[in-house]
């Protein structure tokens, strides 16, 4: 069995003072063993909430759907059952290492904490292992760092410590939630290299949450694009980058200024603003900003089409009957 994580029709709601927020709506995806899946979306698209809910880290309501991890249905697991999985089988790296690490605990203790919790190790063994981990994530002089606090470290080093903690128990799945957003490009490149190397060494699957398509280009096997709580398109990295079929994915790809683009190439952009999660309009969530939107798009939400094996896209433009619209607007299906 090659499948590690299977999420089916997941819907998540939040209570706020302003009303119910539908953070994730009917999201389905799979992750195979040893694979890197990138979840790409803008802020507020629900990508972080979705992964945090899978780990039961958020106080939101699961409105429906199933989560199958490593062959077991973990949808209705209790907190206690989740504690056995979190940290040992699933590791997580958060975006902001400064606020997600404990400023009052020494680095060494933060790493050995999960080792002692999940594995039957003595303190000395755990320390030995922690030093090894620090070395593995590229921290010089681990004996000294072991006894320091995080304020002694730079942003990149803190992120390395987070990675060491996440990987301490050799998890099957590593969730990296915007691991490089707070870092400079040069440090970002270092951290992404490190993740790629560790994935080989530890042999874990990775879910990489990011808003930057550039970061995922070299690192992801498969990509899921999220917009307003929906997964609008998913497929292999090549399918998404070279054969993207959803107007949002294309818009996103075109709006990134590229270093290799000729000078004075016009930067295209997606007009309008992301939809209000409190009062979602009926129909396709992207229809208000989509330049190809049809009358149907505003009334009914599209189903996912499988364009190519493994390449799913939710858009009415791909429908046979939309041929006339495709010709009129110049939309090409890139297969």
């Amino acid at each position: 069995m090659n499948e590690l994580l299977n999420v089916e029709h997941l819907s998540i709601n939040f209570h706020t003072y302003n009303g119910e927020v539908q953070a994730v709506r009917d999201a389905s995806f799979r992750l195979n063993r040893g694979e890197v899946l990138a979840i790409v979306g803008e802020s507020g698209s629900g990508k972080s909430v979705m992964m945090q809910t899978i780990l039961k880290l958020t106080p939101c309501m699961l409105m429906g759907g199933r989560i199958i991890f490593d062959g077991k249905d973990i949808t209705d697991y209790t907190d206690r059952q989740m504690q056995e999985i979190r940290g040992s089988q699933i590791g997580i790296i958060f975006q902001d290492a400064m606020t997600s690490l404990n400023p009052t605990m020494k680095i060494g203790r933060q790493i050995t904490e999960s080792l002692l919790r999940h594995q039957k190790l003595t303190r000395a063994e755990a320390k030995e292992k922690a030093l090894e981990l620090l070395r593995q994530v590229g921290i010089n002089n681990p004996e000294k760092r072991f006894h320091q606090y995080i304020h002694n470290l730079s942003g990149g080093m803190r992120q390395r410590v987070m990675i060491a903690i996440a990987l301490a128990c050799k998890p099957k799945l590593l969730i990296a939630d915007e691991p490089t957003t707070a870092l400079d490009v040069t440090i970002q490149a270092q951290i992404m290299d490190l993740l790629a190397r560790l994935r080989e060494e530890v042999g874990c699957s990775i879910v990489l949450i990011t808003h930057d398509l550039g970061v995922v280009a070299a690192n992801a096997d498969r990509i899921a694009v999220m917009y307003a709580g929906h997964i609008v398109e998913s497929g292999t990295s090549d399918q998404i980058f070279y054969h993207s079929s959803h107007p949002y994915t294309r818009g996103l790809l075109e709006s990134i200024p590229r270093l290799d683009a000729p000078r004075d190439a016009q930067l295209t952009y997606i007009g309008g603003t992301p939809p209000d999660a409190l009062n979602p309009a009926p129909g396709c969530a992207f229809s208000a900003r989509c330049k190809y939107s049809m009358r149907l798009c505003r009334m009914q939400a599209p189903e996912a089409h499988e364009i190519q094996p493994g390449h799913f896209c939710s858009c009415f433009l791909l429908d046979e009957e939309a041929k006339a619209v495709r010709e009129k607007t110049g939309w090409e299906v890139l297969v």
Binding site: E42, S43, S154, G156, M157, D184, V185, T186, I187, Q188, A189, Q190, D193, H211, D212, L213, G214, V215, A217, A218, S237, D238, F241, G251, L252, L253, S255, I256, P257, R258, L259, D260, A261, R263, Q266, L267, T268, Y269, I270, G271, T273, P274
Partner: protein
């Protein structure tokens, strides 16, 4: 660009040091020289802590320089009298990084945009004309009249940044210093704001100083780009030249680290990486190359020479040209 005319900005050996205590000095901007012509867009890039924001703020006179001069239209901005300083404040406007904290939450958009007009006596005593102008400005940045009487919290990040741009344009400036104007925004919104700035620049022949850590964005918008490292300008060239033929080893690494959203290109690029972290900008020495510790071309001689920006090829200035020389061999 006509080089005979007087440049708009002439920055000579500008330094801004922050004294931390009796022994420690943070050299945020260290002997930066730069000439900016009217109508030009100059990008300033570098990692966080390299002094790019301090440079921008010093140019706006939010900080007084420690030493060096900045000539604006031939006049030293740190030796201006009250009246001249007031005029300078009008002509040089700034757009800030964080659209959430740079707008007063208790003022409506109309009041925010009008404030500059009142201060600088634009359409003085004619509120109706001012209102017409405000509406016009809002239209220009892609908002509309109905937005004028709302408060900043009613807008999204991209819209707030547009309000910031409208506020800057309200006083008919000649220069706009943009300090990371899009780093708080999503990519699809970032493109809107950048296109807007680029169009406004063309339309009003504005001079833009565009500060950012996003190198691909800077390349897109700028005519010339300056790369800063630990307070010093290490390379300055036209944006085409800089990205095609970087001369300084730091620029080379920086460009190599930018992700390109294309898997095939990305996988086949040669990756040049730093071994170390950014060194501390406190008490840096002026007589050695600040980059030598992380440089892959570093030679023993590097710690003996005083780095100076010099012309390595036509209109291409760099402190060091080891990357170019290696290629010539």
């Amino acid at each position: 660009m006509n080089k005979q005319t007087q440049p708009l900005f002439e920055i000579r050996d500008l330094c801004k040091y922050f004294t931390l205590d009796r022994k420690n000095t943070l050299k945020a901007v260290n002997h930066v020289s730069l000439t900016i012509q009217k109508g030009e867009t100059v990008g300033i890039v570098g990692e966080s802590g390299c002094g790019k924001t301090t440079l921008g703020r010093t140019l706006k006179r939010l900080y007084t320089a420690t030493s060096g001069t900045v000539l604006y239209k031939g006049q030293d901005i740190f030796k201006m009298n009250r009246e001249q300083a007031h005029q300078y404040a009008k002509e040089v406007q700034m757009i800030f990084q964080d659209p959430y904290s740079s707008l007063d939450p208790r003022m409506t958009v109309r009041e925010i945009v009008r404030e500059g007009m009142l201060n600088h006596g634009i359409l003085k005593g004619d509120p109706a004309a001012q209102n017409r102008r405000i509406n016009e400005l809002l239209m220009m940045v892609g908002l509309n009249e109905e937005h004028a009487d709302r408060f900043p919290h009613e807008f999204s990040g991209g819209q707030r940044q547009r309000i910031g741009i409208a506020r800057a344009l309200a006083v008919n400036p000649e220069v706009i210093i943009c300090d990371e104007p899009t780093s708080a925004l999503d990519v699809s919104i970032q493109a809107q704001v950048v296109n807007l700035l680029k169009n406004l620049q063309r339309e009003f022949n504005l001079t833009l100083i565009f500060i950012s850590h996003n190198l691909s964005l800077v390349k897109y918008i700028s005519d010339r780009v300056g790369v800063m490292y630990l307070g010093s300008m290490v390379e300055l060239a036209s944006s085409e030249m800089l990205y095609k033929e970087p001369a300084h080893p730091y620029t080379e690494v920086l460009i190599s680290a930018i992700p390109i959203p294309d898997p095939n290109i990305q996988k086949n690029r040669s990756a040049i990486r730093f071994s170390g972290e950014l060194p501390s900008p406190i008490n840096t020495r002026d007589d050695v190359c600040s980059f030598a510790g992380r440089c892959r071309y570093a030679a023993p001689a590097c710690s003996n020479l005083t780095p100076r920006l010099r012309e390595v090829s036509l209109d291409h200035f760099a402190v060091c040209d080891r990357v170019l020389r290696r290629e010539n061999k």
